[in-house]
Symmetry: C2
Subunit: 248 residues, 2 copies
DNA sequence: CGCAGACTTGACCGCGCTCAATGCGAGTGG
DNA sequence: CCACTCGCATTGAGCGCGGTCAAGTCTGCG
């Protein structure tokens, strides 16, 4: 259901909720047997709330934990020496943030809430200890990290070969399918990020993003008013996104 | 030393060589205690040779193992539905290939030798079993995979924000530092890949790569004849590459 | 030697960036 | 309630980087 997750249970137990979490089929518990879920719950700090713009962790500060998005959304970005921001990803409910930092003592990027967001925290030392004991959980971690590597490759591909229209169509479709996975509408949703975030992420100028949005709108592919977005013709969007390959 | 690794030892033991391998400080054995190295050696198939262009594994075939480059070099690429190739990475000695495939039953990309190349093979089932027993090795795997995620982000950044000159300068410097890590010359080496590979990887046209090479040469930054490359002014190259690929 | 593939060089042009102005909604204070 | 501001979004004009197309040159290999 599209019901928001209840964050503060009235029960006396603050942490007994991986069992009930509607995201348990997306998040870490996926790979875990019912009777092992308790051990995962033991190490998780659940449901901490961040408001829009608040930092979940900061680049170059000591790496302590990975974070799962329960509700809301998160963006991660790298700040270059020159002070420029490069957004490296958007994270939706059920997705794990911080995997790119497991190679250092410090976080490789900064994570910020794009809206009011609920976050579960997995301390990395305890997580590693646990994955050592639970082969399925370890396998799932490898799975998630490898998926993240592939996402990076997909993004690199998008950035290196595709036009502005193709990039934006691809992003909209990606968001759409991720909303659907959460059993929310995949055709009518609110963009959690600003146009400038989209531009930054896709390697475009804000003006270009704006232009493409209006072009899509004129073509009847989408209907956008501010952050409110409706996908009117998903098939046509997919055609645009995959059209990076049309010369025979 | 810049000595090539001896591939076929005259000793009767074919596999007793993680101990002697000059890359053991880069590859998986890094995290392993001396007395645990034997257990890693037990699962490794060492020193298989591939000639230029030969496939180490193919996209969409069953995922069986990760591979470490001992000598030579490897490129990985994704073939899109339309048959286009997108190169996702170049791998030098000591680097692990195939980490992006640990999320699927099949390889996510194709890996090919760029030159005569020696490869060690780590069957993934045994590797996972081993990392479950050896926390340091597990930690090292997380480290390597997270590093790979970061490389992806760096590449995406390079592709989305930087000019042709900046991208090429960054690639040359990356290769340089990776050669140096192998204790080979970082200023005079042979490019293992064709111009078209560089172009594909960096999201440029071959012609652009060629033009930038000659421009750099005219500016006295490099000296290139075919694949033979000399970096004449590393500082200037770093200035050109600017805020692109930084790994500290 | 000759051929094929790799590399270089030149001419042209279009996508998307830059600069600049305007539109628009939300929050604030008089 | 309007006026003002501030951040975000849209729209327009101009141009430069890098892609495309087309020759031409170099290189390795049979």
């Amino acid at each position: 259901m599209a019901q928001p997750i209840r964050l503060h249970r009235t029960s006396s137990s603050l942490k007994a909720s991986c069992h009930q979490c509607s995201l348990s089929n997306l998040c870490l518990p996926l790979a875990v047997e019912e009777n092992e879920l308790d051990r995962l719950e033991d190490i998780v700090q659940q449901g901490r709330i961040f408001n829009r713009g608040e930092h979940i962790f900061d680049q170059s500060t000591p790496f302590r934990a990975c974070f799962a998005v329960r509700s809301g959304s998160v963006k991660t970005s790298i700040i270059t020496e020159s002070g420029e921001e490069q957004i490296t990803g958007f994270f939706m409910p059920g997705e794990l943030v911080g995997l790119d930092s497991m190679s250092h003592e410090t976080y490789a990027c900064t994570a910020r809430a794009l809206e009011r967001t609920s976050i579960c925290e997995f301390p990395v030392d305890k997580l590693e200890e646990l994955t050592g004991k639970m082969p399925e959980l370890q396998h799932h971690m490898y799975h998630l990290m490898s998926q993240e590597i592939q996402n990076g490759h997909q993004l690199a591909m998008l950035l290196s070969k595709n036009t502005a229209e193709e990039r934006i169509a691809a992003l909209l479709l990606s968001l759409s399918s991720r909303f659907e996975r959460r059993r929310m509408s995949g055709t009518h949703f609110s963009l959690p990020m600003a146009r400038s975030d989209i531009a930054n992420f896709l390697g475009l100028a804000v003006e270009t993003v704006s232009r493409v949005f209006t072009r899509f709108q004129n073509q009847g592919l989408i209907k956008a008013r501010g952050r409110d977005l409706e996908l009117l013709d998903v098939d046509a969007l997919q055609l645009v996104a995959r059209d990076s390959t049309r010369q025979d």
